[in-house]
Amino acid sequence: MINRLKIIKKVRETPTVFSLYFHWDAEVLPGQFVMVWVPGYSEVPMTVASREGEKCITVKVYGKTTERLGNMGEGEFLYLRGPYGKPFSSSRGKKLLIGGGSGMASLRSLIDEDSTGIIASKTSDEILFEKDFKPGMAICVTEDGSRGMKGLAPDAINNLDLTQFDTIYVCGPEMMMKAIFDMLRGKELNVEFSFERSMKCGIGLCDSCSVDGFQVCRDGPTFHIKEVENMAEFGKTRLASSGKRIYMK
């Protein structure tokens, strides 16, 4: 079943990131996603956040389909199916949210009074959701140093006492998550990752999103650090659209 939902509000978050708000009576838990069909273009996975009583997707423009989504306005319609995937196992307590690139979009539902954010991006332009955190609770990191710390997300972690957090949530490019994973593994911390592998079916049939035999669309996208520890493919290899094995660098 494909849902057709009217865009009731559009917010420009950065020059390339837009939030599209809509009414939808489905129950969506933090970490779950939908497959958004843009007729005539393609279908892409997007995390859904519940914001201000409405649902919302936050789209970072990368290619043709996300560009079309970014150009959509109030009154236009979203076509989507879902929600899919395993939500984060907990969303309460003292939280550290580490988001790189559009990854922060997947964590947005979790932002509350108790959350600290590490928001990583290339430049200051692309810093996402800083204002959604309590003042002083968002740490920005940019590759060019144009905002906050200069560096990458892992660099920001070094300065924090991680044991103060009930849960640490991480979402971003796989190589960034891998770097963070390598820092945090074996530390008895409660860490949940949200994976972003390319998806075709979204429902556990096509194998295009799989990591170590787990379907990110079904067994994930959220995985606990304990599950990630045994993954031979994580941060190392993935399949291209054809199924050809590609080695990440």
Binding site: D207, D212, G213, S242, G243, K244
Partner: protein, 300 residues
């Protein structure tokens, strides 16, 4: 202990449940995990000579009790695929190599490479309903089917399975043409489509796709029964199997083993154990000692 072993298409299986081609079998790690979860064997994604990305999304449409897919035969090409098979084979169970091509020489080349990769049998995809020049377009021509099957049987030493399409007027004609195969695999998906009335257009980018899941079970069962009755050959049943009863129905209609695909959508990997247990329970309650005692018993 109930004995679930069966011999199907020339290979020995611990249980009658095989993973169907095209579902969770592009990545070697996934196949390995499915074998560990209780599948007796896996059939790989259908592999051709050249790398193909498949169609642009949407490639699946989700109905209430069915899926329509038009993946478009994405595959890395036979040269690249060996590594995945190696990983899958670590589970120590049979891996069956599915291949697609347009003519006998190409099928033969692909089969040869699959043999080198160590697969236990070859499954010929003569039935994909949504890619021009392959699948059903090949598999609905009895002369071509006969040529392909006989060419492969003459040179390949491992069992050859022919996977046939329900989208034909006369399955017995096609089945006869393929009757030298070690097994006929019935059925591939039923040609179908979905339209979204709000978007006023077909949902799948390719327009046409293949219907699978619960909705096609009565059709698959009929084709298995018809082939068993008319040709009495070795059959592997597939199409809409989602629980133990479905599997047993196929076996009673004449299948020596069955394949499971779309049911993984609703039930996940656990389905293999669930169905194995269901079959054992039924056999125990009914005083049936082996899978063999059930094969084809419903055929009149």
């Amino acid at each position: 202990m109930i004995d679930l072993r069966t011999k199907a298409g020339g290979i020995e299986l611990d249980t009658p449940l095989i993973l169907a081609s095209g579902i969770l079998d592009e990545n070697g790690y996934t196949m390995r995990r499915i074998l560990e979860a209780g599948a007796a064997a896996v059939v790989t994604k259908s592999i051709g000579v050249d790398e193909r990305n498949g169609y642009t999304s949407p490639v699946v449409f989700e109905g209430e009790n069915y899926i329509i897919n038009a993946m478009g035969l994405p595959n890395p090409g036979i040269e690249e695929y060996g590594g995945e098979i190696k990983i899958a084979e670590e589970a120590g169970k049979p891996v069956i190599g599915s291949i697609f091509a347009a003519d006998a020489p190409t099928f033969l080349k692909l089969a040869g490479e699959m043999v080198d990769y160590g697969v236990s049998a070859i499954e010929l995809n003569l039935s994909c309903p949504h890619v021009k020049g392959f699948g059903t377009e090949v598999g609905s021509d009895p002369t071509l089917v006969k040529d392909i099957v006989e060419t492969l049987k003459a040179s390949i030493d491992i069992p050859i399975w022919s996977k046939l399409s329900p989208n034909v007027t006369d399955i017995v004609e096609i089945g006869s043409a393929a009757s030298e195969s070690d097994a006929l695999v019935l059925i591939n998906t039923v040609r179908a489509m979905a339209i979204d009335i709000n978007a006023r257009m077909p949902v799948l980018t390719n327009v046409y796709g293949g219907l699978s899941g619960n909705a096609i079970k009565p059709v698959g069962l009929r084709l298995v029964y018809e082939i068993k009755k008319e040709l009495d050959c070795n059959i592997i049943g597939v199409g809409g199997i989602g629980n133990a009863s479905d599997a047993i129905e196929y076996i009673m209609a004449g299948a020596s083993a069955v394949q499971i695909g779309t049911a993984l959508w609703r039930k996940g990997r656990g389905i293999f154990d669930e169905i194995n247990q269901g079959i054992s329970g039924f056999m125990k309650d009914s005083g049936i000692g082996s899978i063999g005692e059930m094969i084809g018993v419903a055929v009149q």
